[in-house]
Each structure stands twice: as C-alpha cells, then as structure tokens.
Amino acid sequence: MMSGRHTGEQHSHTVEGTDPQLYVEVHDPDADAGLRPILLIHGFSSSSKLNWEDTGWLSALLAAGRRVITVDLPGHGRSGAPEDMDSYSPSRIRADLLQIAFDAGVRPVREGDPSSGLDLIGYSLGSRLAWEFGATQPEIVHRIVLGGPNMADPLAEFDLVAAQRYLADGTPIADESTAGLLKMAQALPSNNIFALLSLVEAIKGEPYDPAEAVPHMPMLLVAGENDERAASMPRLATLAATSGSMAEELVLPGRNHTSAITSRAFKQAAVAFLGS
C-alpha cells in the first residue's frame, strides 16, 4: 500500500557541475507525527523499490506518521547511470545526498524542535554511506539506523579484472566473494551491470574505514543472526562508545542478510528508536 502522497523526480540539482541523475521520491504520511524526515539509503544491487517499498518499510514508516525521502543510488533503480567514474564515488554520493536533503526542506537539528534535522536508515552499503554521512554531517543528522552493517566493505576486495574478463568471455572467477557479488548483481535483469562495476571501482578508490570518522549521534545497529555482518556490530558499537556516542544492537533470530530486511521486529525497533 502506498498511503500518503508522494512526489517522485529525477534529481537534477547539480552539486559539482555534473548532473548525478539520481531518482528521488518524497513521501508524505496521511497523519504527520511532526517529526523530522527519514532518508532511506538502499544496498548494493538493490533499489528503493526492492529495499524499502516491496519489503513494507515505506508503508510502515508512513503509518508511523513519518515523512520519508528515498533515493536510488547511481546505476540503480530509476536513477541514471552516468559515464564518469566520479559520480559513483562514496564522497560524491554523500554530497548528493546532502543536497537532496536540503532540497527536501531538511533543516539543521535544533534542540527542542522534533521536526528539525534528519534521521537515516541504511542497509548494507547504505549503512556505510549512512555511517559516513552521520559522521560528516552532525549538524543535520539526528539519529541513525544501520542494517546489515560492515566493518569493511566487501566491495573493496572485489576483483574487477576477473569480473570484466568473465563478462567478456565467460572466464570463471576464482575469487568466491567476487563471483558471489557479481551473481547477485546479475540476478536482477534491471541492473545496469557496467554502472554497478563503476560503483565498485569507485568504492575501491575510497574504501570504507569506520574508524576514520565516527558518528556522534545515537545509532541502532541491526543484523540477522545468520548474517556474518552481525559480528561487526559490537566493534562498531565500541567505536561509537569511544567517540562518546550510544549504539544499541539488535540481532534478528533466524534471519540472514536478505531476509532481515522484511523483519517486523527490525521495523518496529527502527520506528521506536527514531521516534524517541
């Protein structure tokens, strides 16, 4: 169900001279709780539709009275697939997300004003971006929910040469992680495989290091029990504590990196965490 009004558009506000061609939707709830908007950042090889709409997140957040901003990452969903590598770099994506937030009317966090600032929910690669966005934008980010979060980016170890060789002539890929990620990317016919490889290449140029910049706002870490990333949550929580922040952890019994996303316990925890 898509309750509430929403407007969708190809985001055309240029940040650094080139148009990022990002597809943005702003969803307004039927009954607004008066709280700050929530920006949703999806994972690698997914989209706002797959990660947040089909899984029931959008309707759950709208039912909780939250205003929701969704964006498809470059080369994903309904966003464009720019030719230039720079459009895919995590730093450039964060700059575009900041511009999208401002364009949606997000204002800096003000003490005592629950409608000020922005909450973030990220999943997988989206959690990496949310962690870095929170760390670098403390003026506007209020709280963060990080689903399926990592300590290091598996995409940074991706064997691009092997992947390109495989796509060109079917040469088998030796590295298991690379083969798995490419298989995931190819599973959806709608994916632009070459844009996704550009994203991988850009990520290899800016690998994830959560210790480099740590968010200072409260965060909720969530992962499926059968997701190996669950093991990274205590380490991220320690980083947060070291920087004076507070991190709650939630492990979802019986769930893996894919099935954790629809979990009702996950949604309820996020709504409660971001509503307080």
């Binding site: 899984t55 309707s59 599973a187 016919p189 629809t262």
Partner: protein, 109 residues
Amino acid sequence: MAEISFPLPDLGEGLIEATVLEWLVSPGEQVERNQPLVEVETTKSAVELPSPQAGKVVRIYGGPGDRINVGEPLIVFEVPDNTAGIVGTVPKEEAPKRRVRLSAVLDED
C-alpha cells in the same frame, strides 16, 4: 458467509516459489485490505505481501521455512456473502471513478 482463497501471487523476475519467513496475521483475525499479511523470501529478495482483501482470516498455508509455489494457496478469507460475487471475483473497494470537471477549461491552444 463465503470463503475466498488467494494463491501466492506472481513475484516477477521468473520466480516460481517463495519461502515463508513469518506470518503477520493469524486465523480468526480481521484484516484490512493492504494490511501486511506475510513475509516471504525468494532466491533474490525478501518481500512483504499486503492483503488483497479485507475480511476474517480462516486459514493460512505454510509455516516459517516452508516453500510455496506461485499459484498454490496462501490464505483463505471469510467475507460476507454479498461481497463474494457469483464467480468468486471480488468487487474492488475503491469508489467508482468518475470524471468530474470542477472548473472550466479554457481553450487549450
């Protein structure tokens, strides 16, 4: 009262089956149209299926971990006789669409 059965819908992408993760409703419960019914996982993603129908849940098929093929029964609702229709089709709940012109339209050219 009449019963209406809904099968596991086509989930697209050529998928032929899904695994039940968790039911969000139980027999005897009154549900609204579009209320989340069940979480299912396919080989490609996990999705939450909204109810195509308002009514009382009579039966649900499959527990967590069970596979259901597209087209096999997923859930049965009990609905008042007058909403079931003669051949089991369900009238849509939306108000009938009517075009009403609220303001005069000036010459478009």
